[in-house]
Homo-oligomer: 327 residues x 2
């Protein structure tokens, strides 16, 4: 390795902090700085690298090999992805599944004519789970794919509960139904309804004077978010919420069950058990930053997804070393 | 899709039969014929495609897009791989781990100057398990990787038992030790000896007059194969062997356990549960034949391994469709 891959982080929330920490585990990488929309002097970062204003980012075009975009999919990335991939190789975790095609096209239109490589929608879902759905259906075309999430904290569902009148704080856990997972694992190819696959569990802190029954009804009947699920609501104190529900565990399973030959059941499963969801997503982003760097060197420019990235590009090891050591 | 990908099979053992069957599950592929070293007229194949002599294979250079080499790693592939990849795109399941670098170089020297693409060592180990070892160590560099095999029939160990004097027939199952798997899954990063990871179970039919105790001792003390394991030996009748032990189940787990951030445990697991080991390997070979075809069209020639193949190349779907449907 001639010199280290120079990384810039855009955004310093949970994901940005996780990326900072993951870079320190990778000897072939170096964190150049954290870019923020806040006043840089008001932000201090753990590694002590420079905190820089996002407004000045274009002065660093020659110093950064890959920018890791750590903003949110709703407001930050739709703007930052297409804008920054004009001048930088980028990696992001855009995760609004329905809008991926449109986002891909916007980033591709920026990156490609400027000779930049931009890997979008990196993480575990979209990301590693998507890859496993793809391996599954490509290898066992005669079968079915099942994705289960959890047990884990869902940010979107927690937010939905928090928006209800009378709710002061809340977290929501998504829990896969074990009986359903077992059926799938046994290769029985069950048809499963939404309700049969996952349950939802909420821990809620009420505002003073709020009525528990009213809040509970508002939760369990909420369309899209809860009405199709069996949902349990627990009311707890603010202290309990902070103490027992501050971690962000998550995980899940992608299971492909299919038949080959006469009638042989074949089951492939990929599973994650994560104590920290954002830190794991960050770790995936950092590995794909390495791939973005290598692909750009190889002239593979434009928008890419995890489907376009050969596994070997994620590793700091040479192809020769990989064949010898872990093939 | 303009026209179907035309496949030739070399060798018609369990793997060749599995490939024949897998091709029939993939609408974008067509089996052109089975090549054999036997007398073609003496071999009949299930799909009814032409059976052709391996001696005549070069007359089919313009008719075949990808050859799937279904011979063994010991005697067939070391010769066939370098020879056939001079004139054909090939996929094979070369699985002698220690000789992969040497085999790769030999195939590369044939394929590259002739503009052919040859993907070697495809299957599940080497193959999908290798990919998961790579994803694991690249994403969680601070951790350890564990590979467990089974419960499954091991061909090599079954053969070793059959070579013992007094043994008429035998099968050997490799069984992962559940307690060890559980420790790994829980993220405790245990140090495990060979004996702690797997047990071995043999079902043996004795020759008439052979002494059970002598045979059992010869098995359990056999160096490399059994002496480092807790091995159980069962003596059964020839009829039982045929009835209860003719299937070829296998599977296993690749688990990467690592730490991110301050001290978060993160566990990634890939698991296979296969009713037919050769049929599954065949299904993987067929998906990679599609990739070999696409890579050759893109000018990516020479020897390749699963590490060099972007996941999207395995699918009959377009990149656009994949992003929309399963990312």
């Amino acid at each position: 390795m001639d010199s280290k891959i120079k990384i810039g982080i855009v955004g310093y929330g949970n994901l940005g902090k996780g990326v900072e920490s993951a870079i320190s585990q990778n000897d072939d990488m170096e964190l150049l700085g954290v870019f923020t929309r806040r006043t840089p002097s008001e932000l201090s970062v753990k590694s002590g690298v420079p905190v820089l204003s996002l407004n000045d980012i274009h002065s660093y075009e020659n110093d950064i090999d890959v920018l890791i975009l750590c903003g949110g999919s709703k407001n930050d990335l739709p703007e930052q992805g297409p804008e920054l991939s004009k001048s930088f190789n980028t990696v992001d975790s855009f995760d609004t599944h329905a809008k991926i095609p449109e986002y891909f096209d916007a980033v591709d239109a920026s990156a490609k004519p400027n000779g930049k490589t931009a890997i979008i929608s990196v993480g575990w879902d979209p990301g590693l789970f998507s890859i496993n759905r793809l391996y599954g259906e490509s290898i066992l075309p005669n079968g079915a794919t099942y994705t289960f999430w959890g047990k884990g904290l869902s940010q979107g569902h927690s937010d939905a509960v928090r928006r209800i009148n009378g709710v002061k704080g809340a977290v929501q856990y998504t829990i896969p139904v074990e009986a359903a997972v077992d059926k799938v694992r046994n290769g029985s190819l069950p048809q499963l309804t939404t309700r049969e696959k996952h349950t939802r569990e909420c821990f809620v802190v009420l505002e003073e004077g709020a009525d528990a029954t009213t809040v509970e009804q508002a939760i369990v009947t909420m369309p899209d978010y809860f009405s199709d699920y069996d949902t349990t609501v627990h009311f707890i104190s603010e202290a309990q919420l902070k103490e027992e529900h501050s971690a962000m565990p998550h995980g899940g399973f992608v299971i492909r069950s299919g038949k080959s030959g006469e009638d042989s059941n074949q089951v492939m499963e990929f599973a994650l058990k994560l104590e920290s969801n954002p830190e794991f997503t960050s770790s995936v982003l950092v590995a794909y930053a390495r791939a973005a760097y290598k692909m750009n060197k190889n002239g593979e420019v434009g928008a890419k997804t995890v489907f376009d990235v050969a596994p070997g590009l994620l590793s700091p090891k040479s192809s020769q070393q990989l064949r010898k050591e872990i093939l």
